[in-house]
Symmetry: none
Subunit: 210 residues, 4 copies
């Protein structure tokens, strides 16, 4: 095979991205290292030059994903110009359409056809993200838009419940069913957080055409 030398960070990122994509598509257990390297066109040695084991690259992917998602959340949470509701919208809204690399919490939770990666990421996301959102909720309580006793636990429940949305693929829902469930999700969130009905409308934008 032709020897193509690349900058280490570039090569590393290339491997992580490829593995990420394949793991999401076929599942961690169903992807051999062989598959990954064949996809990129590098040797096995190269893979193991950058990652000491298969679990190792899984962790690298999870870390990368979590870092991005947490960074976004913290940026929004720290923005003093926003109200609690606006922060919620910024994090949960569907406003990034079309932007190629837009980061959206809901979007990032969407990891079909996986197990290890799915759960590792989801669980850690829930654990890392919920405190940030809980603080926003607490701020909302002060602002008078939310009314809930245990923000952290409530957020964690809602996050988990929302996966029946993002896991739509596993559930085998149709587009219409997903829309229907999205509406219900909004309602439950509003009820659970003690928010005014309709205040989370940003989760279900009215589109002229689908």
């Amino acid at each position: 095979m032709a020897r193509i030398v690349k900058a280490p960070e570039e090569r590393r990122a290339e491997i992580v991205e490829t593995a990420d994509r394949l793991f999401r598509k076929h599942g961690y257990a169903n992807c051999s290292v062989e598959m990954i390297i064949r996809e990129i066109g590098v040797s096995k040695g190269t893979f193991y030059y950058y990652f000491k084991s298969k679990p190792d690259i899984l962790q690298a992917i999870v870390d990368k994903t979590l870092d991005a998602i947490v960074a976004l959340a913290e940026t929004v949470a720290a923005d003093n110009a926003l109200t609690a509701m606006q922060k919620m919208e910024a994090l949960l809204g569907n406003s990034h359409i079309g932007e190629e690399d837009s980061l959206d919490v809901a979007e990032m939770l969407h990891l079909p056809e996986n197990r290890e990666l799915h759960e590792l990421t989801n669980i850690q996301t829930v654990l890392k993200l919920s405190p940030i959102l809980a603080r926003i909720v607490e701020m909302g309580i002060v602002e008078g838009v939310f009314d809930v006793e245990k923000p952290l636990e409530t957020i964690q429940f809602l996050f988990t419940g929302a996966q029946f949305l993002t896991d739509g693929g596993l559930f085998g829902f149709s587009a219409a069913e997903v829309r229907s469930r999205r509406l219900v999700t909004q309602t439950i969130i509003e009820k659970a957080l003690g928010a005014t009905p309709g205040s989370f409308d940003f989760m279900n934008p009215v589109r002229a055409v689908e």
Copy 2:
């Protein structure tokens, strides 16, 4: 090894039960066919006489579990002597303590250390059980104890959300944290279904001693 002949149904059930137990304990991927047959004391050939592949027995387990859980739910749902609330309690309550083979929805959703089995069962359980529970909710609406617009979707969301409880092991929650989350779960269910606060107290029984 001594050749022990058994009635086909009995042998088949024996294999399913053993596999079920081992899969739940160590996880589907971590259980080899070897492990299963060694546990029973039967040969490889026998295993493949009853099941054509490893995925095949997984499906058999899921089917068995679902059949049991759905049968229970339908029995309760069909009992005209019970109110909607009593049916909820019968299905979600923690009242079966000590009864060896008691079937409890919450309990059956509790599948630690697993992936394939866990998700397959959970998802299908949600899909099969939610219509039954939704009908109970509708009955409760008529009875005036519930107030919710989309019972089916709401039930599905709540089921999924409740997993952050049953998945406590994965999340790494302590006993105290699990208790705290159980309370929140109750509150959200009550809010989402429009039930009187405290009406689902059976989910969090007060115990004299822990």
Copy 3:
């Protein structure tokens, strides 16, 4: 590959013998499992059906070799019809020439081109055989043919020293050099054990033709 079923003990013995031969020829580290199975014409699965790892078969070989060698020694040692000197001759003599499967201590110590197997066997042979020989020496002291203070340790030294003979291959000695060293070995043994010069002449038989 054609599936050829054999009695387990037969198959197992076949693998052990083949591995033994290849290990002695090329060295343990230089023999892959692949080599062994190709030689026999069985599959990898078969190899690992009988031995759980590569070290495992090494141990099996060592055990087999030691068992044979120790069994021989004990039989001879227990023979009350023999004098100490006759026992020595039976164990160290060169009298089995031509008999295909004759077991001879000296012969069995001859394991060129090896490392792990060589040392494992040699060391354990020395450790297991030396007590038996030491008892013969003690008997010889009573009989008045030997005179030595610490039979066990002396035997162990002599065994180890004798390897410079059996390891002739490593040393690169010519046939003449080996003969010369065999004579010296005899002399040292006699001196170390306090035996009459020439009493170990059986170690260096006079041959008409080579």
Copy 4:
């Protein structure tokens, strides 16, 4: 990594020394080239600039070790001020305690945790050293302190036998057992060389405290 240029000889010696140390510690087969270069802080390319293969550096180490050991032996052997017995003591005695880089034949033969290096060095040491010692023995015969017919072969046997001492680790001997065997070794040497009992007492110095 910073590129540090060194004089070729110095760099080469540095690599040999490091490899020597690591090989003796972990064994030749268990030391990867990676380990060696990481220890020194040099690149793979540099290693292969100085040595064309891994076996190549093994040979370099053996050569270096042998050169040192042979040089010492020849210096002692050529010293006309010493008697044969004094020369023996100088080469085999335990008198160098505390001197950091003291070279002692017995010490240099002591190569635990190794195989390839061990045997390569031992065998070659025996072959190169035995003629020198044999000449000392011949001198001793003239001086009347030794009485042996074939000095060279006898020395070779004794060298090899003495390894059951230095290989104590492999044999699993306790400190007491090693001491006991050291005494026996002395006795056999004296008998084999026809020396006065006790004349090799320097091999077993009486220590006040261990």
